[in-house]
Amino acid sequence: MKFIDMWKPALATMAALVMLATGGAAVAQDKDPVVVGYIGSFASDTGLSTIRGAEIAIDELNEAGGVLGGRQIKFVKADTREDVVEGVKAYEYLNDVENVDFIISGSIDDVSLAWLERMAEYKTPTLDTWTSYVGIIDKVVQEYDKYKMYFMNIACDEALATLYIDFGKDVLAAEMGYKSTVLMFEDTAFGVSIAGLVRDLLAPEAGIEIAEEIIYDANTVDFAPLFNKAVDSGADFIYLVSSVRSQVPASQYVKLQVRIPMTGVNVAAFGQDFWNDTGGLGGGTSTLSPVPSVGMQLDDRTAAFIEKYKARYGNERPIYPHFNGFNAYYGIYSAFQAAEAAGGFEPLDAWVEAMENTDIVLEKDGEMWFRYAFWKQGEVEPRTGREYTHNIKFDVTEPFDDGSPAMVVVQWYEDGNVAVIYPKKFANGTFQEPSWVQ
């Protein structure tokens, strides 16, 4: 103890220096705000969508007099650059330096997986709006106590694929008469897992055989050999799965005028900026999209959100939020609804229980159009027969009266218009083959 006493002045000086150097992290706040942290990339369209969706919701709440008895919400952000280790550092920063109460995430799969362990350690309520990896939901199902503070308000990829197979059956097989496909997917975790689901379900459910599989490097610059191989296989269409640099296959498909139609998953096509980004070479691309997607008709509340978004961000990209922008906007509302009910974000169990009971139902034309609620522990999804604890309450069977549809299919036309083509309940356009397909 004497040693410490002797060194106290020196230690205090050192501490002061370190505090100064780290930016005076612990400057006292006058009104004790609730701190919401954002984790994700800062500059990607998807990252920006989550940030802006959350920002608008937070401003609305603050303007309406604050939360939890009049406290204001402070929004802090930490960049991950879509890098795994930066993701862990950012999660630590939000907790240790910013002392956040709640985290909203616009992280991609592997980044979420990396900070997930820190989340379990800090026990910070966290809502993911972007990653749809079912593996994370599986962790919540299997180790509920460890991961119960985690929620994901986008339908997991398994749900996306399940409904997409219905599209194959109802439209591609029944209407277009396609019988075989070339499964062309990128060599990423996302590509491999979606391809796996399609491989297992397409033939038995939709009756479309897979004539050939082409797995390609995500950095591929030249798709000509791949497209040629696909055409040579004699299949009726290409099923593309692309999440990284997705403009490349889309625009090369148009530039090369590939002779068979192409559909599937093209993440770049989720945003309104797709048309500009491809320089107008996006026509003919159709993709499944998590909801609410570009090209989708909106209910009044969501339309008001879009008006605010446009007024606030103008022509800065993304000019129209991606699905996760909507998810972040409503996600903030869900989280604070739960916090009001539980008396705050602590104790954790109370908040988690309240969060499980949140239910934001959006109606359009007097019918449920969209719903932000979560699967509870032990609840079984009737069609797949398994649990999806803390995933958004999705619905994969018409007429979609239990929850939101897991996805819709959107189609970009050659004139630059985009429309939803499936499921019928949400459709405002039809599936069309590109003009150069014979």
Binding site: A43, Y216, D222, L256, D277, L281
Partner: protein, 283 residues
């Protein structure tokens, strides 16, 4: 089969275009410019800004990109490389850091979102069963023209011969009255221009994104290693070996092994023939 041949040839020509600016600097200055990929990226972004944002016609935009490439090349030489002259490893590392800085700058200015571009020359060339876009076909033709031009330049003109002399023996060249400073500046300018033009083709062929410097750099490095230091002919042959091998791997074996095949060639050549297949100390 025809398809593989046509595609392989065109891709190889394109790879030669990507690599030639890199080879040039390596043979004259004996330094590896790991910021070479940034030359391509800048060329692509400047062309994009000109042709697709400002709305200039394509050809002037291409010229502007080429000039910007030359200026950037000279700046890199003057500000970084000259200062570290003689220390090959230091140049390598400084240019690697520069590449990362340029990437961060591009993210800041242009956002990290990838951008696709209109082809320089739209349309598809169909030869029998095979089809290639005019865009990459033109890139390959431009590559052959530029390489031919470079060959003539180094053989016929005074300045070209000076470059060649420095690449063979820089000390000897100084003795015979050549100013190595001028030669170096010129080489970096040429390299910058070639890089920027290759970048425009690369970007119109694929897309623009702030990570796009890595792939062409790896291609250029692979070409130089396989071809050997400072041989234009070697680069040309190496570009064809790599281009054909990639096309064959993608078409016949498995598309995801594309990069793996290139890495294996690099390792094999460095172990078996560290000087490359045509490794000589002349241009």
């Amino acid at each position: 089969m025809l398809q593989i041949l046509v595609q392989g040839l065109v891709l190889s020509g394109f790879y030669a275009l990507i690599a030639v600016g890199f080879t040039l600097i390596f043979s004259v200055g004996r330094v590896l410019n790991l910021a070479y990929g940034s030359f391509l990226m800048l060329g692509g972004y400047i062309y994009y800004q000109g042709a697709q944002v400002v709305g200039l016609p394509k050809f002037p935009s291409l010229i502007i990109a080429g000039i910007a490439g030359a200026v950037f090349g000279m700046l890199v030489y003057r500000i970084l490389v000259k200062r570290l002259s003689g220390n090959v490893v230091a140049v390598e590392i400084a240019t690697l850091i520069l590449a990362v800085v340029v990437q961060a700058a591009v993210v800041l200015v242009f956002s990290p979102s990838p951008k696709s571009m209109w082809p320089l020359v739209p349309g598809v060339l169909r030869i029998g069963d095979a089809s290639v876009t005019y865009n990459i076909f033109i890139a390959a033709v431009v590559s052959w023209i530029l390489l031919g031009g470079l060959f003539l330049f180094t053989g016929m003109t005074h300045m070209g011969r000076a470059i060649r002399a420095v690449s063979m023996d820089s000390k000897g060249a100084v003795i015979s009255g050549i100013d190595p400073e001028r030669v170096n500046i010129l080489t970096w300018a040429i390299s910058g221009t070639f890089g920027a033009i290759a970048g425009v083709f690369l970007a119109t062929y694929t897309q623009l994104d702030p990570n796009m410097w890595v792939t062409p750099l790896i291609i250029a490095v692979a070409v130089v290693i396989v071809g050997g230091i400072g041989s234009i002919l070697g680069s040309l042959v190496a570009a064809h070996i790599i281009g054909m091998l990639e096309t064959i791997t993608t078409s016949l074996i498995a598309a995801e092994l594309r990069g793996v095949a290139t890495m294996l060639i690099i390792i094999a050549v460095l172990l078996v023939a560290p000087k490359g297949l045509f490794g000589k100390s002349e241009l």
